[in-house]
Amino acid sequence: MNVIEVNNLSKGYGKVKALDSISFSVKRSELFGLIGPDGAGKTTLFRLLTTLINPDEGSATVDGLDIIKDYRKIRSRVGYMPGRFSLYPDLTVEENLAFFAAIFGVKVKDSYDLVAPIYKQIEPFRKRQAHNLSGGMKQKLALSCALIHHPSVLFLDEPTTGIDAVSRSELWDMLKNLKEKGITILVSTPYMDEAFLCDRIALCNEGRILGIDTPQGIIEQFDSKLFEVRADNMFALLEAARQVEGVAECYPFGQAHHLVADDNFNMYRFKEQLGTFSNLTITPTEPTIEDVFINLMKQ
């Protein structure tokens, strides 16, 4: 049985359609990632699944419970970390944790072994008020509070946005550990490079899902040839490359540009036509999640 089932879920705000007939499912103990930029509908989806708002159309179940009919039961058993820091800034780390434990009717020490690997990192700061913590520590505290009642499903809305790179990888390690303990995790992120840390992902944009698969599976959906091109004058290269026959797309990609080739493309002809560019190189390369995303967006 799927722990999370979403069927044609839609939600609009005025003229804007935040979610447009979304469907997907998450299996038990899966670490499922919603990958997409702002405005993709990730937060709206989380709010629907945690029963904070009602959909316009469609249905969904969490742990077999309907989000409309059984919402109270869902609220008792899931863990939720909303997009921005939502704990009490004027309470200390300890007080926040004790409070949420009491809300869920558990004792802190009963959940200790589940929360410990995370809590240990902020324990030295336990008497500090939450607003004085760094971004990374705040997220660890929020995660501890979300886990305190042994939830079977965890909903994490952009837990890694706005925090430093080191804390980000620490957080993902913690999520892997939790998954191994049997907790199903639905997490969202705008960072494409975090996709590979998930079991399966859904690429989202503007209220729609562009593709669902394992990260590797998504990559394999990219069926054109991809090249990396470089030269001394990168900007001019960009414009020039787009004029060459057989070039479907050429876009900046950090150190090099990525060139998407169609069937008419010929690598040697390309080098010839752009011979005036000094230090021109072109090599085939493997696509990344971002390449797939860009490709799917254009369709």
Partner: protein
């Protein structure tokens, strides 16, 4: 069968969890309030400051009114009347002036009132006493740029001037309970009405809406915690604070301002507690209706405090209102509270005498709670 045997134990366990929940919430709310030292200071300080200010510094009493007299014939009657004014503590007799000096004296502010005695005062006075018709024999020209004190001064002067025995029989003008119209008696009930709306309605609603705005409400909702409990927990600390403030106000009024509590302290206390509950339910209603703290402040401030100040009878007597506002004032809870408190505090009426005010306040409280429950929705939107 087994279920029924276990059920009491399960209920007990569930009850214990629910009690723990509530306790945890109340504890958290208390921590928030106690750590917000600035607000705490304001809540305790404002009643004290207001009472001292209104009690001592500000007054609409008659005090130190400078009076000049125009009297072409200084008859015995005139001298008598002038002496009575001069010997009165609240007036200062500044001497006799001429008719043409009146305007200049008043405009320059040297005097606040001029009493003009008609010529042949004594004879005319006899005529009036005999019941014969006559034109007015005393003209009071009063600087009315301060309307409140002008009215008071005029009334008092009239009382003093006409205080001969014969006139005493004709007019029975006496200021009951507050002959000097001490404003402290007037204001203490008003201050109480104001403070409790401030603490209970405004602060409670702001506190609830803050959770909505900051986002912690989301996390609280996704838990077994019933939202009604969240609201309940928010109201309890403010209820406690209100009781503390109530005691402070009563102590200050009694010992510092000598406001009599003739009707019995318990009656005053009960009425006040009902009013606190009413304000809390108003705060609850506001918090359900608005989304931001600013809106909560505006709604509590504009829609509640302003009518309270203007229409409740705290500053301006209701009897003086035009009909429309007089009717409107029936809707303002503070009006009933202040009336009830005044009756008990100053008139010395027993609690039974204010049953009407009490019932109206009770009805309003039930209404606001009812409206809150109806409008309440445990989803985010």
């Amino acid at each position: 069968m087994k279920f029924f045997v276990c059920w009491p134990a399960m209920r007990k366990e569930e009850n214990k969890v629910m009690r723990n929940n509530l306790f945890a919430l109340v504890k958290k709310e208390s921590l928030h309030i106690l750590r917000d030292k600035r607000t705490m200071l304001i809540v305790i300080l404002i009643p004290v400051v207001l009472i001292v200010l209104f009690g001592f510094a500000i007054s609409t009493e008659v005090n130190n009114v400078n009076v000049a007299v125009v009297a072409p014939d200084r008859t015995n009657g005139v001298n008598d009347a002038v002496n009575r004014i001069a010997h009165n503590d609240y007036f200062t007799f500044c001497g006799y002036i001429n008719q043409d000096e009146i305007d200049q004296q008043l405009r320059s502010g040297k005097v606040s009132a001029v009493i003009v005695f008609a010529p042949d005062f004594d004879r005319r006075m006899e005529q009036i006493n005999a019941g014969l018709p006559s034109t007015p024999i005393i003209q009071l020209i009063v600087d009315a740029s301060n309307v409140n004190s002008a009215g008071a001064a005029t009334a008092y002067m009239q009382e003093i001037l006409l205080g001969t025995e014969s006139q005493q029989a004709m007019f029975e003008t006496r200021m009951l309970f507050n002959p000097q119209m001490k404003s402290a008696y007037n204001f203490v009930p008003g201050i109480m009405g104001l403070i409790f709306i401030l603490v209970c309605a405004m602060m409670t609603s702001v506190s609830i809406v803050r959770e909505k705005e900051v986002g912690t409400m989301e996390v609280l909702l996704v838990s077994p915690m019933r939202p009604t409990k969240v609201f309940f927990a928010k109201m309890i600390p403010y209820f406690v604070i209100s009781c503390v403030v109530l005691i402070i106000i009563l102590l200050l009024s009694y010992y510092l301002l000598h406001v009599p509590m003739s009707g019995g302290v318990w009656g005053i206390f009960s009425m006040s507690l009902l009013y606190v509950l009413l304000s809390l339910s108003l705060g609850l209603l506001v918090s359900i209706v608005v989304k931001t703290q600013v809106a909560a402040l505006l709604l509590s401030g504009m829609v509640m405090m302003l009518p309270m100040l203007l229409l409740s009878g705290m500053l301006f007597p209701i009897e003086n209102f035009p009909k429309f506002f007089e009717v409107l004032s029936n809707v303002v809870p503070a009006r009933w509270y202040i009336e009830g408190i005044r009756k008990m505090m100053i008139q010395g009426s027993p609690f039974v005498a204010v049953w009407k005010e009490f019932t109206i306040l009770l009805g309003m409280t039930v209404l606001f709670f009812g409206m809150s429950l109806l409008k309440f929705n445990d989803k985010l939107e």
